[in-house]
């Protein structure tokens, strides 16, 4: 799954990974893993990130072709 968490994090007052992590109550390593595409967040966490970045979920996360197969 692709995501634009890093892009929208910068657009939201250049939030650091640590600040975003604190907002959504996870570790910085989890935010790093999400941004790198190494970890897919649960719906709950994805919604929390979406709210923290004031961005709709569909703009943050995108299914790739292989996810649909």
């Amino acid at each position: 799954m692709k995501n634009k968490v890093r892009h929208f994090r910068f657009l939201n007052g250049e939030l650091t990974q640590q600040e975003l992590a604190q907002k959504v109550k996870v570790t910085r390593q989890t935010i790093i893993a999400i941004e790198k595409g190494n970890f897919n967040p649960s719906v709950k966490l994805a919604l929390k990130i979406s709210r923290a970045l004031n961005t709709p979920l569909e703009m943050l996360f995108e299914l790739e072709e292989e996810d649909l197969n």
Partner: protein, 222 residues
Amino acid sequence: MKNKMSILKSLWMIIVVFLVFAAQGLPVFISIPFLLLALAAPLYREFRPKSDLDERQLQLSHFSSHLSFYAYISLILIVMILEYFSKRENPPNLFYMLLLTPLTLKFLISIFQNFNRIQAATYVGLFFSSVFLLFNLLSHNILTFEGIIQTTPFILLLTASILAKKIPFVSGLIFALLSLISFVIFRSNFDIYLKILLFSVLSLPFLFCSFALLFPKKEELT
């Protein structure tokens, strides 16, 4: 901060190792409670409603536990094989207990997590009663009186499993009764490792089934 707390709490392993060494010289009634307390910490962490770990850390923790579990099972199997080849006789009951008890527990927990209570009890009951019935049929001549007596409980359990969806309360009572009877029978006459083994592969699954059938969720009964 979250990471530091997680690391600190993961130090329980070091505490357990320390306690094992320290316990060498201590009386059993002191060392065993301390060891149990040290082992209780990760269990408490797993089951408490608000974990200090986030979802990724939990996922990684479960993944590492899963791998470690299979490594442990493989190790036990290797040791059993080596024991057999060195002594040319079946390994002691201890090894069968160490191998089968965790496997049975994992199977039970997986089934009861994946399915609703009545379904899970049906599958577990069918599996264990079929296995033990087959074992009985192959090892005893059912045309003898002794053979019939030995096979009857498992036929009863198989019937209870098949009827679990239709009459869960009655099936639950049958499971509870036979689980209790098996527990009483195994309490004496066997060494401690064989007792634990028999309890975990015979009494425990049927005890799980009895609880699930006697206390199903309301929506499962409609």
